[in-house]
């Protein structure tokens, strides 16, 4: 999961505005249901959790199962009451966490 996550949100919003956030990360989401060429089961390896915080407060999160498609796409909303920083985190079955940050300003 070395690739940079792709994130799209506006650079600024009016106070109280609800914005849409789109995220996409590169990951095989190996389901644990497949077998390799020798017939041995390929062990499960997925992103099992995604979370988004704004100024350290939880906005949206989800627990993911192997029924999520490869290269997980997650879209959700956030209400903006102040300027600040979004922090996104994707947690892999192997314990590694990929994080990203995006700032948003308030429109005058």
């Amino acid at each position: 999961m070395a690739d940079k996550p792709r994130i799209k949100l506006p650079k600024e919003a009016k106070k109280g505005e609800i914005i849409q956030i789109k995220t996409l990360v590169s990951h095989l989401m190996e389901s644990g249901q497949r077998k390799d060429a020798q017939g041995k089961p390929i062990p499960r390896k997925i992103i099992n959790k995604f979370s988004c915080e704004f100024n350290s407060k939880p906005v949206f999160s989800c627990a993911l199962e192997p029924a999520i498609s490869a290269n997980p796409y997650i879209q959700f909303d956030a209400r903006i009451d102040e300027e600040g920083t979004f922090r996104f985190a994707w947690t892999d079955d192997d314990g590694s966490v990929v994080t990203a940050e995006e700032k948003i300003a308030l429109k005058a």
Partner: protein, 274 residues
């Protein structure tokens, strides 16, 4: 996840076919471009038009389109030095956004030096081995498919403009011969599905014109980018034939001929297909 549901699938798919017709676009709704005189089609139609609205939506938004993960990976690789010459792609070619514009739309093209055509994958590896003195990337490797996607993407929206005259002519003819030759236990040619029966179902498959303007394409089935010769290989497997090898002269000839069948279509790389 496929093996346990074998018998169910046969039933489900048969039932699906009738109701599916309502969901997949009817012919009148499929937009295309007028073909030049002497072409096999009256209207040349991208594979995009044969897909469901959900699949098209995945291609329509550059953030939602998973093919852009490859474009971004390769944009970094473009600038990364590799091989004993201490060069990156950028050392010779500068900014891909300007120097690679139109390059992918005109491939495969004739190489005077090799006295044969080369396609994009081959040209990338020629650059690597000759100019960078780096290891060529194997076909189907993430690196080669990513870079091919990235270079083709620089032509997105530009018309497919392959040359088929002069020294390309015998290659075009060879490709045409392959296109119309029935192969495999199912005894089907490319033309059987994609010329005679496009817009119809072959079981669960809604057949397109088999255009190549979107390749490499993000296939929902594979959940990754698939290069053109891998799809050619897949089609030949599907008719239970013995496929030619990726990057072989046969597939190269076929690539030239099929590109001509889509002449003028806008490049859609990275497209999304089923």
């Amino acid at each position: 996840m496929s093996i346990r549901y074998g018998s169910l699938a046969v039933l489900a798919t048969a039932a699906l076919t009738l109701s599916a017709i309502a969901v997949f676009g009817q012919e009148a709704e499929r937009m295309g471009i007028p073909a030049p005189p002497g072409h096999v089609f009256k209207t040349i139609i991208s594979g995009y038009q044969f897909r469901t609205k959900e699949t098209r939506a995945l291609q329509d938004d550059d953030l939602e389109n998973p093919g852009f993960l490859a474009v971004e990976r390769a944009a970094d690789m473009w600038k990364t030095v590799d091989g004993s010459e201490g060069k990156s792609c950028m050392s010779c070619h500068g900014e891909a956004e300007t120097t690679m514009k139109g390059v992918g739309a005109a491939m495969p093209k004739w190489s005077e030096k090799l006295n044969k055509p080369v396609n994009l994958e081959q040209q990338i590896n020629i650059c690597r081995s000759e100019h960078m003195k780096a290891q060529p990337w194997p076909f189907k490797s993430k690196e080669l498919t990513d870079m091919t996607t990235f270079v083709r993407f620089q032509s997105r929206g530009m018309p497919v403009a392959v040359k088929t005259d002069g020294p390309m002519s015998p290659w075009f003819e060879r490709g045409k011969e392959i296109y119309y030759t029935r192969v495999g236990q199912l005894d089907l040619a490319c033309a059987s599905c994609h010329e005679k029966n496009n817009g119809k179902f072959m079981r669960a498959d809604f057949l397109s014109q088999g255009q190549t303007n979107g390749f490499p394409t993000y296939r929902l089935r594979d959940q990754r980018l698939v290069p053109l010769h891998e799809r050619f290989e897949g089609c030949m497997f599907d008719v239970r034939g013995v496929p030619y090898k990726p990057l072989s002269d046969e597939f190269l000839a076929l690539e030239i001929y099929v590109a001509w069948r889509g002449i003028g279509l806008p490049v859609e790389t990275p497209s999304v297909r089923n």
